[in-house]
Symmetry: C2
Subunit: 314 residues, 2 copies
């Protein structure tokens, strides 16, 4: 089952199916604007506020789509993932909406408040050493024992399709977007966004904002081969994941452009969003505004959609 | 002119007129909800988010109404007020939308970032000693020199009517509200809210949340006479003003109930709103949630509207 799910490249129809599937559970988040930020950017900015999504992040969309796409038989065995961040909480809540077990593998030393959130949604926690090999091994072990379906944070096609529903809502609500910008970490959100935007707003350019200190997606596109060796150094804790293979393929297929941003620019953008829009966003979210301000000549006078991914700060 | 404006008690028709007058300039702010906060309160809470209003606070509504109600001849002379807070910035921006001068009297020692905001909207600043007599004297002096119309922060009937438009939008959007709660300082917002809610949602109870350390409205209602001697001690810097006379009359006329809240409860509520709703609110705003949580038996199982007044924090 897991292998089959992972092999299929998601398409626009999968995003549409995801939108229908998660509609009873996920919020249609508001699109906010700011005159001051428009003036600063010299463009019309439309902020899709996924910080208002359930669990405080877009991750609920993908997790919810994966959980509700399971057959009843598979669902009864629950789901498992490895994530100490928003995906863990998102999968826990998604499983709770269906009344099935969730198992979440987390690295030792993970932030306690995030673990408490995952547990509060009813998931079982498993601790492992803080590296990807240990996380995957522990998840495989849990899978072998009770048979839950693995829902990978960003390579699962159903997760990718689910993440695309945020941009789908945005493009359906706002006409004439010349560009859409999302952050990029492992590449689940930008993958789904590229599929969604290409399907419903042809001609709209697609950008991913990436921290300079974790720019393996940019390097991968430069070299034409996926870079997997990287040591991320960035305040954007949601963007430290290594670009997945399917995600790399989607970047190339849809011609996504990467915009690199420094942490200082991201933190300045986070402050601007707080002051001017009165919303709480993670640095990993603020990076989209930082990108638009740094590369302002690319967006001058245009309507630009920005996916504000989450608001879970300490 | 000024005397005439100040003598009339505003009514529902004035709130409707204000709504029409400010529509081209003010935002219709969103109403947000939170499952977690509903569960905590044991009620259905509807947050009218004036922190998303222009200048980051509901104060823009009243200021805008006062500015756009002026005759062309009066408008040419501009407007004047005394306020170091949101009303000063609101009046400055309102004047800017009409292209007329704004004069704002501020106490020496006022927070620099707030003064910078007022100046950024194009108003002229005047400094005076930090007490009400000095503020009023300086405003009168400015008025005598170039003839601008005084727009008092909370006793001006046009300001009161303008502030009522937030609750008007809320009550029109959400059916079946059993209660509406706003903060109370000088009483402009609660006055306008009482008029608006009584006009369009009869039977809805009206509450004002007041800091224990600045509870002169509560004392005034207890004694049946307006208390003007008070030394406010509260973190709610927007709620330190002394209840106005017209505002006291409105409280009694509409049977507004005062709910007193401690600063500790307000700060806990501010944190809850940040964590759960991902929005930035002032302590003076968070007090409405604190009141609903402290007096939860008054609201059990009901639909409750809360006016979140602003998001201008340091």
């Amino acid at each position: 089952m897991t292998v089959t799910r992972s092999e299929r490249i998601p398409e626009f129809v999968d995003v549409l199916a995801a939108a229908a599937r998660i509609a009873p559970h996920a919020h249609v988040t508001p699109v906010l604007r700011s005159r001051t930020l428009d003036a600063l950017a010299g463009a019309e900015l439309f902020f899709k506020c996924e910080n208002f999504q359930r669990v405080g992040a877009f991750k609920f969309r993908g997790a919810c789509n994966a959980v509700w796409a399971l057959s009843d038989i598979d669902a009864a065995h629950g789901v498992v993932t490895h994530s100490s961040g928003n995906h863990g909480a998102a999968l826990a809540l998604a499983a709770k909406t269906r009344g099935i077990p969730a198992h979440v593998v987390v690295p030792e030393g993970a932030v306690k408040s995030k673990l408490a959130a995952i547990e509060a949604y009813g998931a079982q926690l498993y601790f492992c050493a803080p590296n990807m090999a240990a996380r995957e091994a522990m998840a495989a072990q849990v899978q072998a024992s009770t048979g839950p379906t693995l829902v990978h944070p960003f390579t699962d096609p159903l997760v990718i399709a689910g993440q695309g529903t945020a941009a789908l809502e945005l493009a359906n609500e706002i006409d004439g977007l010349a560009a859409v910008v999302t952050p990029i970490g492992g590449g689940g959100l930008i993958g789904g966004t590229a599929i969604a935007v290409s399907g419903c707003a042809k001609g709209t350019r697609i950008f991913a904002a990436e921290p300079e200190g974790a720019d393996e997606a940019w390097q991968s596109l430069q070299r034409g081969v996926r870079v997997t060796e990287h040591r991320p150094e960035t305040v954007c804790d949601g963007l430290r994941g290594t670009l997945g293979e399917i995600n790399f393929d989607l970047l190339r297929h849809y011609g996504v452009e990467i915009l690199r941003v420094s942490d200082a620019e991201t933190l300045a953008a986070q402050r601007l969003i707080g002051e001017r829009m009165k919303i709480i966003v993670e640095p990993s979210s603020a990076i989209v505004l930082a990108a638009v301000l740094r590369y302002r000549d690319r967006f001058a006078g245009q309507r630009v959609g920005l996916v504000v991914t989450g608001g879970n700060v300490e």
